[in-house]
């Protein structure tokens, strides 16, 4: 049985629940608004050998309970959908218990609470991306104008500016002159991320269980394909196969970050290449809203994810 946690009216949560219902999968759903109200979690971790069976407990509802041993995997969309979190001590306690369950559950979890944190700082992910064999864009975060100027002058064209954190930001190019005008000599620049604009085709690769790679091309003239309409462009998504060495690098990266569902943003070099070191990885989304890609590119992400989460541990 798959445990799904999240807001029932959040788009990706609802999409995955509909898939589970349509395909007659066995699942248990917890709306996060009910944590600390009608739903509470009990976890027990006795001393003993590590491995399956050590974590015990249950999801408790007012009149029934489901033991953790009945669960095969967990899909979490907790914290998404701009749901106003209940602030009662009971609700906060259960939210903390849910995060602990995600980290400690011995079966597959998409995704564990701590594994999702790497997305909070893009350069942190770059260390893992480079280790996986992919390229990252030339990037500068912080520093002074005196450091920014030679960095920017060495780039091919004006640099792109985006958030260094996981805060949503519209990616845009900034001119040398505009940055010069806002810089104060000797003072640190605002801590945004400046980087080389990478030419090529945007590819989003969803990796499930560090094994299954489902990729699509985003064909657009927009700088940020996620928001093409904001610049008057359109985007077309089309399923594609990654060269096997690149797919393998994506698996390595997912494994290194410990995420069972990753949305990896890549740029394929013009003319293509099967060498991972020619492909640039912009970031790894650790809570990917895969619905848009599934609906527009026909990728069976929900099915592959459900298969992965529904397989009993050890089988």
């Amino acid at each position: 049985m798959i445990l799904v946690m999240g807001p029932v009216d959040e788009l990706v949560t609802a999409f995955f629940l509909k898939h589970l219902t349509d395909t007659k999968r066995e699942y248990l759903f917890v709306d996060e608004r009910h944590l600390g109200g009608d739903v509470r979690l009990e976890l027990d971790l006795p001393q003993g050998p590590s491995g399956k069976g050590r974590l015990r407990g249950a999801v408790h509802f007012p009149t029934w309970r489901v033991g953790l041993e009945e669960l095969t995997g967990i899909y979490s969309r907790l914290g998404t959908g701009n749901v106003e979190q209940r602030k009662t001590p009971e609700a906060r306690a259960e939210q903390a218990h849910a995060a602990a369950l995600l980290d400690l559950f011995p079966g597959p979890v998409a995704n564990r609470a701590t594994a999702m944190l790497s997305n909070g700082s893009k350069p942190c992910q770059y260390a893992a991306i480079l280790a996986a064999g992919l390229r990252v864009p030339d990037t500068l975060v912080g520093g002074t104008w005196e450091r920014w100027e030679p960095f920017a002058r060495a780039l091919d064209g004006d640099p792109v500016i985006k958030s260094v954190s996981d805060e949503r930001s519209l990616v845009k190019q900034v001119s040398w002159e505009a940055t010069r005008a806002s810089a104060r000599p000797g003072q640190a620049l605002a801590p945004h991320q400046f980087q080389q604009r990478i030419h090529g085709t945007n590819i989003r690769a969803h990796v499930v269980g560090a094994r299954h790679v489902l990729a699509c091309r985003a064909e657009t003239q927009a700088l940020d394909y996620r928001h093409p309409d904001m610049t008057g462009h359109t985007v077309s998504l089309r399923a594609t196969e990654l060269p096997e060495p690149v797919a393998e690098a994506c698996r390595r990266l997912s494994r290194a970050l410990g995420v069972d569902l990753a949305g990896i943003d890549l740029i394929e070099p013009p003319g293509g290449s099967s060498r991972p070191e020619d492909w640039v990885c912009l970031e790894v989304n650790t809570c990917p809203g895969f619905m848009w890609f599934e609906q527009n590119a026909g990728l069976p992400i929900a099915r592959v994810l459900a298969d992965f989460l529904g397989t009993p541990l050890g089988s």
């Binding site: 027990d44 260390a127 030339d138 912080g142 954190s165």
Partner: protein, 288 residues
């Protein structure tokens, strides 16, 4: 702005909380020919700010401070002994950006870092009780070190003495309880690199001896957590002989126990710290 570069540096953040350890670090740095740069917790993020660059897949990082722009490389040593949250910025967005830059610096700085922090470092992203629950016991059959029995939710009415886990990160909100059957005397282990020492925290007639199996498990634990310096609070269960089993009750990444021992001029602790620091200063390891 002037770029500083003349000799290798030892950069310490938050050393004012550990004055005795700091004195040892200063003396060893002087002996080795490292220039010491100290950044107080209050200056970290205000008067001193980090930067990170990656060009052609190679990381560079440094600090902007009153001295100018100090780039840190593999010849330098960096140890953030203590830090608070970044100072509040004019918006939540900018606060997140400052925090993300700090995490980037910790993760990517190419200096030889002691106790590397950042979002890829489990000890700084996971509540300590969960670290214990996840990392212990190690899967090897000969493991003698275990976590306590943990319980989340209302404490069980099973006749055992359950204690609430001290407040930290998210346990401020959750109900985390622990218990240990038949605990022996409380001890503290100091893991510095590959060297471990064991210290009593209650009166004991004889100083405790460190069983080799426990030493092996503690170094395994520190390695699996990515820690160079780790303080472990622990108790034994059963007979205090080679067959003893041990329970780790808490992990500490700040050298508080070490500071106390060095303040008492304990020669064993002092020698352990000096040996560790000399090895780190001599190491050619390049983490990033």
């Amino acid at each position: 702005m002037q770029t500083v570069r003349c000799m290798p540096h030892l950069v310490l953040v938050g050393p004012e909380s550990f004055p005795f350890v700091r004195d040892v670090l200063r003396a060893e740095a002087q002996r080795t020919g490292l220039r010491v740069v100290e950044v107080s917790m209050s200056d970290w993020g205000t008067g001193v700010t980090p930067w990170v660059e990656v060009v052609g897949g190679r990381f560079r990082a440094g600090l902007l401070g009153p001295w100018g722009d100090l780039e840190l490389g593999p010849e330098d040593v960096f140890w953030c002994l203590a830090e608070g949250p970044p100072p509040r910025a004019e918006s939540d967005y900018l606060s997140s950006e400052h925090e993300a830059l700090r995490e980037a610096f910790h993760t990517c700085c190419p200096a030889r870092v002691i106790n590397r922090r950042g979002l890829l470092a489990p000890l700084w992203t996971t509540a300590m009780w969960r670290m214990l629950a996840q990392r212990l016991p190690s899967p090897e059959a000969d493991s003698v070190l275990a976590p306590p029995h943990f319980h989340l939710g209302a404490p069980p009415e099973d006749g055992q003495r359950w204690t609430r886990w001290p407040e930290e990160a998210e346990t401020r909100m959750g109900q985390v309880w622990w218990t240990v059957p038949e605990p022996g005397p409380l001890r503290q282990a100091l893991v510095l690199g590959s060297h471990v020492t064991l210290w009593p925290l209650e009166f004991e007639e004889e100083p405790p001896t460190l069983p080799s199996a426990l030493e092996r498990d503690l170094t395994r634990l520190a390695a699996s957590c990515g820690a160079d310096v780790l303080e472990v609070l622990l108790v034994s269960s059963g007979m205090l002989d080679a067959s003893a089993r041990w329970t780790a009750l808490q992990l500490g990444t700040s050298p508080e126990g070490l500071e106390r021992l060095v303040a008492q001029e304990d020669p064993v602790a002092l020698a352990q710290l000096e040996r560790f620091i000399r090895a780190r200063f001599a190491s050619k390891e390049d983490a990033r």
